[in-house]
């Protein structure tokens, strides 16, 4: 009998398995960071982890409140500027995977982290930071987010970060570098965009989640194939690592 696991643990493990050894990853705080550290401590020891603030391969021992927290810089291998990280590494084309969160995402994978509209009123949030830059230049973009009807929508209120723009070839028509793979890992399922129209489609559903659950919680129509794959479950080793080494204070899992 395998260990029981939480949904956040399943999300972290699912995301971690998408990373390959030796890749260069730009990563934000929270579950993306947990997933990246899990991969580095299991099948991908040679990942290079880059924080946009200009820190490479730190080995934090205390949890931080954001990438501006020195707790996240401990035992870094290299300190640089935004130009050094987002310019000379990311824009230069050396980043394999950009790992982001988001306020809202649409059916073409465009992400909003700027504002929410309510009639003529807006509510303003964080804005881009490095997110727009990361999704422009990373060869692959992975998103981890909570699955809610108002968060996965037909069209975002503001395109902070481009996924596949308006689908098809519209991203490259704008002159943007191609994104070869985009995944959205939620608490219910995994989406990808690997079809001609570059529109959100189910890759797998987490065990115990029904098609009706997906429909009830998604603000855009998703078709549910009869033989949709169930997301692979975490191994005991992965859960052990998460709880004892990666996030012992259980801040994210």
């Amino acid at each position: 009998m395998a260990m029981k696991f939480s949904t956040n643990e399943l999300m972290a493990v699912t995301a971690a398995r998408m990373l390959e050894d030796g890749q260069n990853i730009v990563v934000g705080l929270g579950l993306p960071q947990i997933a990246t550290l899990l991969a580095k401590n299991t099948h991908a020891p040679n990942l290079n982890i880059i924080y946009e603030i200009g820190v490479i391969n730190p080995e934090s021992v205390d949890a931080g409140v954001g990438i501006a927290d020195p707790r996240l810089w401990y035992k870094g291998e290299y300190f640089t500027s935004f130009i050094g990280s987002l310019g000379q590494i990311l824009q230069r084309g050396l980043v394999d995977v950009g790992f982001l969160g988001g306020l809202q995402i649409d059916k073409y994978g465009n992400i909003n982290s700027t504002l929410i509209r309510n009639g003529n009123d807006i509510k303003h949030f964080t804005g881009s930071g490095g997110a727009a830059d990361i999704a422009t230049f990373a060869k692959k973009t992975f998103i981890i987010m909570k699955h809610e009807k108002r968060k996965i929508v037909d069209a975002v209120d503001f395109i902070t970060t481009v996924g596949y723009l308006r689908g098809g070839n519209s991203r490259s028509d704008q002159g943007m570098p191609m994104c070869s793979d985009m995944r959205v890992i939620t608490n219910l399922c995994v989406f990808n965009f690997n079809n001609e129209e570059r529109v959100l489609q189910l890759e797998s559903i987490h065990a115990g989640v029904t098609g009706q659950d997906i429909w009830n919680n998604t603000g855009v129509h998703v078709s549910i194939p009869a033989e949709v794959k169930t997301t692979d479950e975490p191994t005991d080793e992965e859960i052990y690592m998460l709880r004892n080494k990666i996030d012992p204070e259980r801040l994210y899992i």
């Binding site: 946009e52 804005g127 727009a132 395109i159």
Partner: protein, 301 residues
């Protein structure tokens, strides 16, 4: 040799209303808080403020009504909260706010530091960030590359009249030492006048023995101002930690203009210098509890 060492109130007093000022802070680390508080005390108006990632510094300035335009690449107080004086200024159209991405605004400073007129990039193509900027910011255009014909965003170089950064150390010749990441180094090098507030002025002899630690040489520096704990309540790596309790309470205060005004009245306008601010807002004894551990670079509990 011109004396670079200045007093905070004097160097701030020479900055005219309406000046361009780039700030070096990033969310909750190395914000030039002492400098910004002095701008507020002296009642500066109409400032054109630039910053890569917004933090408490710009939020204070915008909330205090000192700012006409604010250009930035996004920002927050990390998990403590949001920069809600800036968010509300955007929501109500109170200030002309121009939102970039982190890289696109950094490239404007890089171009300024290189002395070139503009710089091309592909970042922010396709975004509403670009659409919004194109409507109101003459510093941004989309053109075809003369070499390949592909679409590129052209960003005008920025050499702000003043850049203000906070660093742990500089010597009397303006050589600046910063430990940790240096997101603000191009912003510093692009300025017509670079003002560096430091926790401590050190000797040129120390710099001569450790030239590899200098991230901004004195050729760029206009003024060095010694303000111990000048970034408080934000952190300086290897010197002192952020004050999480104060940042948490500020993230509540900044939700409404009324509460924010009371904060400014009591702790900034109601004090005459940065020690006065720290003493009134938290008590000077707090400083002994946020000293950085020399190995970890923050307060190790």
């Amino acid at each position: 040799m011109r004396n670079l060492i200045r007093k905070l109130n004097e160097v701030v007093s020479e900055i005219p209303d309406g000046s361009q000022i780039a700030l070096g802070g990033f969310a909750i680390t190395r914000n030039p808080v002492a400098f910004v508080n002095e701008l507020i005390r002296q009642g500066k108006k109409g400032l054109e403020v630039y910053e890569i990632i917004g933090g408490m510094d710009a939020d204070l300035l915008v909330g205090a009504g000192c700012v006409k335009t604010y250009s930035y690449g996004g920002g927050s107080l990390d998990r403590f909260g949001k920069i809600d004086r800036i968010n509300e200024a955007i929501e109500k159209g109170l200030v002309d706010v121009r939102e970039y991405s982190g890289l696109s605004i950094s490239l404007r400073f890089l171009a300024g530091s290189l002395g070139i007129p503009y710089i091309p990039t592909k970042t922010i193509l396709g975004t509403d960030v670009l659409d919004n900027l194109a409507k109101k910011d003459s510093a941004i255009r989309v053109e075809a590359s003369p070499f390949t014909g592909e679409r590129v965003v052209l960003l005008e170089a920025l050499q702000p009249e003043y850049s203000v950064i906070h660093a742990p150390f500089a010597d009397t010749k303006g050589n600046v030492i910063i430990e940790g990441p240096v997101w603000d180094v191009e912003l510093a090098k692009s300025a017509k006048k670079l003002i560096v507030t430091v926790d401590k002025i050190i000797s040129n002899e120390y710099v001569k023995q450790h030239p590899g630690k200098v991230v901004i040489p004195g050729v760029y520096t206009y003024a060095v101002v010694e303000v111990p704990y000048g970034a408080y309540p934000t952190s300086v790596y290897k010197a002192y930690d952020y004050d999480g309790e104060l940042l948490s309470s500020y993230a509540k205060v900044n939700k409404t203009q009324e509460e924010f005004n009371k904060f400014v009245q009591q702790y900034i306008l109601g004090t005459s210098d940065h020690y006065g601010f720290i003493d009134k807002v938290r008590g000077l004894d707090k400083l002994s509890r946020i000293q950085a551990d020399p190995v970890y670079g923050y307060t190790k509990s």
